[in-house]
Amino acid sequence: MFKYICKRIVYLLITLLIIVTTTFFLMKKLPGTPFDAERFSLLSAAQQAQFLEKYGLNDPVIVQYGKYIGNVFRGDFGTSFFYTGQPVSGVILGRIGPSALIGLQAILIGLSIGLILGIIAAWRHNSGIDYFTMVVAVLGVSVPNFVAAALLQYYVGLKWGVLPVAFWQSWKSSVLPSIALSFGVTAMIARFMRTEMLDVLEQDYIITARAKGLNQFKVLMRHAVRNSIIPVVTILGPIVVNLLTGSLAVENIYSIPGIGSLFVDSIKTNDYSTIMGITIFYSAFYIFVVMVVDILYSVIDPRIRLASGGKGE
């Protein structure tokens, strides 16, 4: 297990290196420099040259790349072009809090409602609650989160005035964005759980469990749920990435000072170093989640052997 985790960390680093490289060269292909923005045109030619020199933008691309990689390994993502003088890592760290809070709350809401709905729907197949779950599942993935966020903001926030509409003032500010983000998670989990459960409930070992004289609840929890929760674990990775990206729109709508809105802003201002910083941050986070999911997978399903890459006998 330890060897496996070490191996995965090495892969994680290789993947990151490739991502940093790709991102760096893609960024270099972008038209213009970050100083194209209006602010920059106010500077004199000499000042412009000075800026380019200061940020090393006059060096050959390969030299810039070498420097950047070296810095990244020292934990230095450079300084933000937009937030002049501030280190990118500092800017990102300062934005993690709100994003993490919203994301975690959305996952918690989605997991609890989704699992419960999925389990009950499969258990009471073709019942009212099954149809209800299907409607929730279908609507949850079908209503884009920015539409849901906009409508929630308009109705719950503006018309009813129950919760704060925008900005980051207290915990209350996180409620609407979390709910808006959680719809997709709830739907994905409910749907997957239901499908898997229906499949597992047809298996022979479920009859064995019933033949033992277990009551329905025990059959369901000990045998069906444990075996059908595995594929749900595998979609946790995509769910996290959905949340990351979903937060881009939701944070914008609710004016939340999170990483998502920072990313959109830095794209709009051609803030290379911040874009790269966030790309690396998102990627590292995501690869880490996938790794944790794989390890979790092996704990739940003893048939999956980590070292053999899933090969059977």
Binding site: D204, Y205, A211, R303
Partner: protein, 336 residues
């Protein structure tokens, strides 16, 4: 002798999207203490559904439409699901055909055995449960019971898994053990071992066995009595000797004739022509009429009654009726 289990006029209907399948049509049989009854028939004859009806483990679209299942005087068919749960695994347990799929892949062998004990022996402590489970593993002839206890099913071979399944089924010393083709999915050499194990354990814990099979070799090996099932009905029941040496029903004769015989030079294997009837729309007469070599007009119109041939032996066939032309019946005898 006391009747341990008595099934009377059992009718099971399976509701499919194409219509109702009358999978079991008025089956009656009984089981005595310590005896082994084999239910024989080809795929789709309703034997599996019959025992699942007895166990109360019919698929959700299956229903007992009529009939009773008395275990020591209690009608299981009339019990609530909750009451039935107390009986399953304790008084009646079941072994399934495919040991590869009938064990939970994500639970250790030990836990799966302990689970059934825990359910019905609330008087035992956790340590006692574990001890009992390990003892059970030893009882079914697995080496290193302590190691096996913490292994997962995928770490065991098919034969070993079937032993685990048997260990689970017998953990609470049930009065009746139902084995649904317990050896079909296994290696031939393993098959004999599993049958020997079942016979051995039957003596040790004094249980009665209903074994479902389509293998007459298995019948000869393990059973005291045989019930032959065809088209959702029992066509002939009797002792093993009755069935093998005083065969009455043409279907049973066909089954026996289709066993390859070593000592005969005849290379041609006998087979019964045709396929079993569609139980969505069962024939009104004898289900075997379409395939029987001796079909009479009456067979196509009326379901034959049982003819009691001896204390232990009865069969449902018009050929046994006094009005059937003697030469036809003789004709049947000649085949044997």
């Amino acid at each position: 002798m006391s009747k341990l289990l008595e099934v009377e006029n059992l009718n099971v209907h399976i509701h499919t999207q194409h219509g109702i399948v009358q999978a079991v049509r008025g089956v009656s049989f009984s089981l005595e203490k310590g005896e082994t009854l084999a239910i024989v028939g080809e795929s789709g004859s309703g034997k599996s559904i019959t025992v699942k009806g007895v166990m109360g483990l019919l698929p959700t679209n299956g229903k007992i439409a009529e009939g009773s299942v008395h275990l020591e005087g209690r009608d299981l068919a009339a019990l609530s699901e909750h009451e039935m749960q107390k009986i399953r695994g304790c008084d009646i347990s079941m072994i399934f055909q495919d040991p590869m799929t009938s064990l939970n892949p994500t639970m250790t062998v030990g836990k799966q055995i302990m689970e059934v004990l825990h359910e019905h022996r609330s008087d035992l402590t956790k340590e006692q449960l574990k001890e009992k489970a390990i003892e059970q593993i030893r009882l079914v002839g697995l080496s290193n019971p302590e190691t096996r206890f913490s292994q997962y099913p995928h770490q065991l071979s098919g034969g070993m898994r079937q032993r685990v399944v048997i260990a689970i089924a017998l953990a609470c010393s049930p009065k009746v053990l139902i084995a649904d083709e317990p050896t079909t999915a296994l290696d031939v050499t393993i098959q004999a071992q599993i049958l020997d194990l079942m016979k051995d354990l039957q003596g040790k814990i004094d249980t009665s066995i209903i074994i479902i099979t389509h293998n007459l070799g298995v019948v000869a090996n393990i059973a005291n009595r045989v019930a032959v099932m065809y088209g959702g009905k029992l066509v002939e029941t009797g002792s093993v000797r009755d069935l093998f040496y005083r065969t009455a029903h043409p279907y049973t004769k066909g089954l026996l004739a289709s066993i390859p015989k070593l000592h005969e030079d005849d290379q041609q294997l006998f087979s019964i022509p045709g396929t079993p009837p569609d139980l969505m729309d069962p024939p009104k007469g004898c289900p075997f009429a379409a395939r029987c070599p001796h079909t009479m007009k009456v067979c196509q119109e009326f379901m034959p009654e049982y003819t009691q041939l001896s204390d232990t032996h009865r069969a449902a066939c018009w050929l046994l009726d006094s009005r059937a032309q003697q030469d036809d019946a003789k004709d049947g005898e000649d085949h044997d």
